[in-house]
């Protein structure tokens, strides 16, 4: 049935969606070759993570009309990645994931440019993340998701009446998998719930009580954690345990065996030891493929408007039969991260030092050891020591001056917050308004100061 006279284009299939008008589409859909070409030319997408999801995301995006991609990952390739991270080969073991992944996709799909970043996500300037139209998350840790979410939501600005400004929204698509299950979600800061609004979706990890490990072990995992958490520091003093060091793992395994024999507990194996100590999440290729495809499809829709957008959370469960479900979660209007931010009213005379101390006592923040950033400029950094020393003179200067004597602006504070009785690193947005600066009437919403 193929018509051989029709000139062919690489975007033969995609063109059907991008060039033709439709009825079940996004509100701003403007089909045509311009849309397709603009997507290629101007849209930049960042893929965070080059693991099971990241490899799939890069391939899917490259074959969905996007030509400018970046990928960031701090990890190197391991043998256990090869059952699903299809861009890597045995001879790549030890090389940076981001670099190999970028190279492989560029080799296969001509015309696509992928810039790899072999780096921790925290080591990039915040502004780095602002260069992208969309951020696609292929991560396996809650901490990393929280960080990126904080950065992306940090770009969001609100009008006087707390209406989010559209041009400052940095959409994210987020995927996650475990075995035969997974989720894909769309986060448009200010419109749909951000990661922090629905943090309860991720229950805290269950840890064994130390007294169980020390006194009443009952199963193999208890023996392993005893060897790992109690026996290792006891025997090795200051030398910290490295889960990627095979000799360390072997030592823990041997100790766990001894303990299990002592108590008559069956089931300690080397594989279980690794699983427990490294908290290994089982992962397979198919689930990663499904979830990444859903994330990429949503990316394509957000950018082009070629169809409706997922609202806003898709769960997939393929273990018992097949279940997919869409749930529309709602925003937490008071979310510290994507909400309008905590409004803080300050005197123009307040010093940075005093301001940092204030953050510690602020009931909604309880933020200690804060680093402060105003746009691209670091005002103060707690670490590393070189940078701390460099910024130290700022501490005695008024914050008003450091922020360029503007009447109001957003700043980011990063430090350790006490949440649920646990210390966690936290990045938060503040809307600072200076009293007595030009044109500001006294505000009754003032907190702090």
């Amino acid at each position: 049935m193929a018509d051989l006279d029709v000139p062919q284009s690489k975007s033969r299939d995609l063109d059907k969606l991008l060039l033709r008008p439709g009825n079940l589409v996004g509100p701003d859909f403007d089909p045509g070759t311009e849309l397709r070409d603009d997507m290629r030319e101007y849209v930049r997408i960042l893929v965070v993570g080059a693991g099971g999801l990241g490899c799939e995301l890069l391939k899917d995006l490259a074959l969905s009309g996007f030509s400018n991609l970046d990928v960031i990952d701090m990890d190197r390739i391991e043998v256990t990645n090869l059952n699903r991270q299809f861009l890597f080969r045995l001879e790549d073991v030890g090389k940076p994931k981001a670099e190999v992944a970028a190279k492989r996709v560029m080799e296969r799909v001509s015309g696509v440019k992928i810039v790899p970043h072999f780096s921790r996500i925290e080591d990039k300037e915040i502004e780095f993340y602002n260069d992208f139209s969309i951020i696609a998350l292929g991560l396996d840790s809650i901490e990393a998701r929280r960080y990126i979410n904080g950065v992306a939501c940090g770009f969001l600005e609100y009008d006087e009446d707390d209406t989010p400004r559209r041009e400052t929204m940095k959409p994210m698509v987020d995927g996650g998998t475990e075995g035969f299950k997974g989720h894909a979600r769309v986060i448009v800061p200010g419109v749909t719930p951000c990661f922090e609004c629905t943090i309860w979706l991720f229950p805290p990890q269950v840890k064994f009580p130390l007294c169980t490990l020390a006194e009443t072990p009952r199963n193999a995992a208890h023996c392993i954690e005893y060897a790992h958490l109690i026996k290792w520091p006891e025997v090795h003093g200051g030398k910290s345990f490295d889960p990627d060091e095979p000799e360390h793992m072997k030592w823990v395994y041997d100790e766990a065996i001894k303990r299990a024999e002592l108590f008559g507990i069956p089931g300690v194996t080397y594989s279980l030891t690794q699983g427990v100590v490294k908290n290994i999440i089982p992962a397979i290729a198919s689930t990663n493929a499904i979830i990444s495809a859903a994330c990429t499809l949503e990316t394509l829709k957000i950018v082009s408007g070629c169809s409706k957008t997922l609202a806003n959370y898709l769960t997939y469960n393929g273990g018992e039969g097949l279940h997919t479900k869409v749930t529309e979660f709602v925003r937490d209007k008071e979310c510290l991260v994507c909400g309008p931010g905590i409004l803080i009213e300050l005197d123009t005379s307040i010093t940075l030092q005093k301001f940092i101390e204030m953050l510690e006592e602020h009931p909604k923040l309880l933020l200690s050891k804060a680093s402060v950033k105003h746009g691209k400029n670091s005002l103060y950094m707690q670490a590393p020591p070189v940078l701390e020393e460099m910024h130290r003179p700022n501490l005695s200067k008024p914050l008003y001056d450091l922020m360029g004597r503007v009447q109001k602006d957003t700043i980011h504070v990063f430090g350790t917050a006490l949440k649920n009785e646990e210390k966690q690193s936290s990045l938060t947005k503040l809307r600072v308004v200076f009293k007595g600066a030009d044109g500001v009437a006294d505000m009754d919403t003032a907190i702090g100061a």
Binding site: L14, N83, F263, I284, L297, K308, G319
Partner: protein
């Protein structure tokens, strides 16, 4: 660990050595290696499937470069099967890779016996007529079959196997087998050796909740004419009774006992699902019965004899607050009972095999053991022939779904995915496949869908115009992301079918890429 074992570590944690061995034994045939087929196969090659054979007669066109990762610029004009085969082989050299440059439809029509060599066939992008023919061939040859189709933002996956029986179904949530309301003599006598009123507070807070609940259930039954709590009020009272035995607020074992109290109220005996399996006509074994049904026959006998209404004991207990000694002893009591039940089951299996004229040792000990351990979780999946579904789908299901907001998009796509094949048979192209003539295609597709609905017995049913328009807009495009999604699902189903673990989808899965309100339809 050896390299292959390390390579597969993350999946061995899911399906174990047995599952992996089954995968490595499987030979897969893929029909058409567009993006849908290539992506489905990719996931299986990574997982270490034994061998695959790609059947595709087409040459790589420029358009394929935009949706298929298994071709590149240098493949244009070459055999698509050859190119995809080479790129897939790169992913895992342990897999035997083959290709045949031939149109699958020709093979279905001219050489049906070709398919009998495979464990499973993944048939992608076939039209209805070929699906029906292939389904008959594979049923006849006892080859598992998975159909996959991507079409614009829509698509489907359909498993077709006469019967798929599962021992190790690995459910997410399943009530553990503790027999708190029906303790066997050894458990009862162990419980009797423990004194809940022990004065040592450390000992008191290390009595496992199994012991607490068995004792409490007894105490309750004695004062309630041998009945266990059944009303909501009684259940609350029972929990209060447990609570009253606490001597301090930090006793985790008593907290666990209160949380697990519902296990005392759970009904005794086998579930209705297991009941249904043992009542299945296949459980009346004959000389050609499968091992599964032989074991079901033994189970049936066990339940009505030694089991006294219960299946063989699973034999494992969850972790619970306890002293090490009590926990280990309790564990041994459960294991001993499971072992005893297994021995009875084994004897029954061997006897049945002998009666059937089969070698009594033809079912291995580990298999019978696994069957006993999973006896409460057995699953039997049966699939209608595609031909039956196509000519006579459940009209009530279609109409019910069309009226339901969450299902209407998916069932609408089901009708339209079938309508486009009729359209293609009539007009020698798919609606909207080429630019121009869109309005005519829309009105023709509408008429085709309407006549299909009438043929199916859904008179008076209409599909929304928007959906029909979208279907024409899709113009038979095969988008990479949709292919990756649907191909991914297909490969997951293949893994479940081949490893005989987990439970494959029952019904026809319709992908709705517009709002992701995809559905599994039972038609």
């Amino acid at each position: 660990m050896s390299e292959p074992k390390t390579k597969y570590d993350r999946q061995l944690r899911i399906w174990g050595e047995l599952g992996q061995a089954a995968l490595e034994d499987a030979s897969i045939c893929l029909l058409n290696c567009g993006p849908t087929g290539s992506e489905a196969l990719k996931n299986l090659v990574l997982g270490g499937v034994g061998s695959f054979t790609i059947v595709d007669g087409s040459k790589v066109e420029i358009g394929d470069l935009g949706n298929n990762f298994m071709v590149d610029d240098t493949s244009v004009g070459q055999s698509k099967a050859k190119s995809a085969c080479a790129f897939l082989q790169e992913l895992n050299d342990a897999v035997k890779a083959k290709f045949i440059e031939e149109n699958p439809v020709t093979l279905i029509n001219k050489n049906p016996s070709f398919f009998s060599q495979f464990t499973l066939v993944i048939a992608t992008q076939l039209v209805e007529d070929s699906m029906v023919k292939l389904d008959r061939i594979c049923r006849e040859a006892n080859v598992k079959l998975v159909f996959v189709r991507s079409y614009g933002l829509a698509g489907f996956v359909r498993v077709s196997v006469k019967e798929h029986t599962i021992i190790d179904s690995k459910p997410d949530h399943f009530l553990d087998d503790l027999r708190l309301n029906n303790p066997w003599p050894e458990l009862r006598s162990f419980v009797e050796t423990i004194d809940l009123n022990v004065s040592d507070p450390v000992a008191h807070k290390h009595i496992p909740y199994v012991v607490i609940l068995v004792k409490m259930a007894d105490e309750w039954a004695q004062s309630h004419s041998c009945n266990l709590p059944s009303t909501r009020e009684e259940k609350r009272e029972f929990k209060d009774l447990v609570k009253s035995k606490m001597i301090s607020m930090d006793e985790d074992n008593y907290k666990e006992a209160m949380e697990a109290a519902f296990k005392v109220f759970a009904p005794r005996g086998i579930s209705s699902e297991v009941q249904q399996i043992s009542n299945d006509s296949c459980a009346e074994v004959s000389s050609n019965s499968s091992d599964f049904w032989v074991m079901v026959a033994a189970l049936k006998e066990f339940v009505s004899n030694e089991g006294d209404g219960e299946a063989p004991l699973e034999g494992s207990i969850p972790d619970m607050t306890s002293s090490t000694e009590l926990y280990i002893n309790l564990q041994k009591i459960y294991q001993a009972k499971a072992e005893a039940d297994f021995l009875v089951m084994e004897e029954r299996v061997r006897y049945i095999l002998k009666k059937m004229g089969r070698d009594p040792s033809s079912i291995s000990k580990p298999t019978i053991k696994s069957f006993c351990k999973n006896a409460r979780k057995l699953k039997v999946c049966r699939y209608r022939m595609v031909e039956d579904e196509f000519s006579n789908p459940s009209v009530t299901e279609i109409q019910k779904c069309l009226a339901d907001e969450d299902y209407s998009g998916a069932v609408g796509f089901y009708i339209l995915l079938r309508a486009v094949d009729r359209f293609a048979a009539n007009y020698n192209k798919f609606p909207g496949q080429f630019d121009g003539g869109m309005d005519e295609d829309i009105s023709r597709l509408k008429t085709t869908a309407l006549s299909l609905l009438t043929d199916l017995g859904c008179n008076g049913t209409v599909l929304p115009d928007d959906l029909i328009n979208e279907m024409c807009r899709f113009g038979a495009s095969e988008l990479h992301v949709v292919a990756a999604f649907i191909g991914g699902i297909a490969s997951q189903e293949v893994i479940k079918l081949v490893t005989k673990q987990f439970v494959p989808m029952l019904g026809t899965y319709i992908f709705n890429g517009i709002d992701h309100k995809s559905q599994l339809l039972t038609l």
